[in-house]
Structure formats: structure tokens, C-alpha cells
Amino acid sequence: MAFTAYSLVRLHNLFAVVMLSGIYSLLAAVLYVVMDAVDVAFTEAAVGAGISTILMLGTLALTTRMDKENKLIDPVPLAIVTITGALLIYGTLDMPPYGDPSAPVHHHVGQYYIEKSGEQVGPPNIVTSVLASYRGYDTLGEVTVIFTAAAGVMALIGRSRRRKKKGDKT
């Protein structure tokens, strides 16, 4: 994964970059399966490796295949990225080890969902009941985001085409 990410940054051929990002998503999906998060892995494989690769290819067809040469290294963004990365890594030091049963995540609402979702909601897949029932508002928000994204693409790209057509007619 690290190698894929490094090549992603270094390559200038955008076609290869898109393909590598698909591979990166697939590797991430494998990682999620290893961590027993099948639902997330499923989404990552379908959305990250499948659809977004196709959409990126579509974008490439609309724009250009090669990156613009940019040899200059701007110090300000580099500093910001380095500091943020260092802070994030510093943050992970406080995190409990993976799979630790005494970790705070397992003692908040997680426990409650695992014990009660069977009798309160019903479906055997707890992920579904958390997503759709306990966290119904959040999922509604996510769907709204997708709706807005499609509407935004329509407004940005779809409309100008119609305007052009109208201009042709007059």
C-alpha cells in the first residue's frame, strides 16, 4: 500500500495515477476484510475501486492525460502537510492497541447496540440496524450529500451543454 501511495505521488501520467488509486482502494478493501469490517470493505471495493475509477477516467477524457510539470517545491504547503502529519501520528500514540477490549469505543454506545439491537430493531446484521435505524439521520445526510453531488455535476457540466445547443439554434 505504501509503495502504491508513493508511486501515486511521483507519477506524472494521470492515467497510471487513476489505475494506481483503484489498486490502492482494492488494497484498502482487503485491509478492511482483515479487520472484519466486511460492510466497509464491500463499499470500498465497489465505490473506491469500481465507480470512482471510471468517473476519474471520464474526467481524464474531458481534460488531459499528463500532469503539468511542476518542479518547484513550495515551502508553505510542505510545512503545513508535515506539521499536520506529525500531529496525526502523535495523536495515534494515545490510541489503544487494535482489538483492545478496554478501549473507549467498546464502552460507549457500541456495547448497547450489540446487546439491544436484536430486540429493539431486529435484523441480524447489526451494521444495518445501526446505519439505518439508530443513525438514521446520518444516513439521510449521506444520501443528501450524494444527491447534491449529482445535482452539482448536472448544474456545472450538464447545463452549459444545453445552453450551447440553444445558442446553436438561434
Binding site: 468517473l55 438514521g136 451543454r161
Partner: protein
């Protein structure tokens, strides 16, 4: 586009119906196994995009015209939000599915099935719409 390659045509013709069936399985089996509306919508859209890539976007546009995908896009979200409003009208909180039926379990099940269907419809509609718009834009630029 890739219409000349007979292997691709035959294989994709064989593959597209199972992909769509699998999308429906993921959609309605999400309560019991991994999956749900998001994944199902994406899989359904990918079957459509595969068809468009192999048999040409014009044929695909005939199968799902733009108004249909836009209708899917909007109606899925409306269905989701509508389930919440119905639950509220029946005396519960917004998006509290227990009110949808006399038995809270059946109500929850019905509610989850409905909203997952809404999610799937919107996601599939969004993906197909974005794909078609990209294609339309490409064509408009080629004409110029």
C-alpha cells in the same frame, strides 16, 4: 466504442444480468449479510456503465433516458425523507420506524427496507447521471 470486440460483447452480455441480480440481492439481503443500499446502488450502476461502455452510450441512453435517472435520483431521497415524515404522522419521532406497523419489529424491518431502497435508488441514479453527463460533455466538446 468497444463494439467490435466480440469476446467483450459476449462476456458482458452474460455478466450484466447476474450483476443486476446481485445488486438486488445485496439490496434486499442487507439486513442479514453485508451490504445495503449504498453498495447495491453502486453495483447496479456499474452494470449499467458496463453496458454503456461495451454497447455504446446511445443504446444505454435508450435503456435509461436522462429523465429516468434524474427521477431515480430525486425519488430515492424523497422516499427516505418520506418514511421519516410518515413515522412522524403516525405518532413517533422522525425516522422512528417502530410506528410503521403494530409490531415494532415489523415496523423497523419495513422502515429499514424502505429507506435502504431509497438509498439504493438515489445512489444508482446519481452514478448513472454523472456518467451520462460526462459523456454528454465529451460529445459537446468534440462537436466544437
Amino acid at each position: 466504442m468497444l463494439t467490435q470486440t466480440s469476446i467483450l460483447r459476449v462476456v458482458s452480455k452474460l455478466l450484466i444480468p447476474p450483476i443486476m441480480l446481485f445488486a438486488l440481492y445485496v439490496q434486499f439481503h442487507g439486513d442479514f449479510g453485508p451490504g445495503g443500499g449504498f453498495q447495491a446502488g453502486v453495483i447496479f450502476a456499474s452494470a449499467f456503465i458496463l453496458y454503456a461502455l461495451i454497447f455504446g452510450v446511445d443504446n444505454a441512453r435508450k435503456a435509461t433516458p436522462a429523465w429516468l435517472t434524474r427521477l431515480m435520483l430525486a425519488s430515492g431521497l424523497l422516499l427516505y425523507a418520506g418514511v421519516g415524515v410518515v413515522a412522524m404522522l403516525l405518532g413517533g419521532d422522525y425516522l422512528d420506524y417502530s410506528m410503521l406497523s403494530s409490531d415494532p419489529h415489523a415496523g423497523q424491518h419495513l422502515g429499514i427496507t424502505l429507506i435502504e431502497f431509497g438509498v439504493g435508488t438515489t445512489v444508482a441514479g446519481a452514478m448513472i447521471t454523472i456518467f451520462l453527463i460526462f459523456d454528454g460533455r465529451l460529445r459537446a466538446e468534440k462537436e466544437d
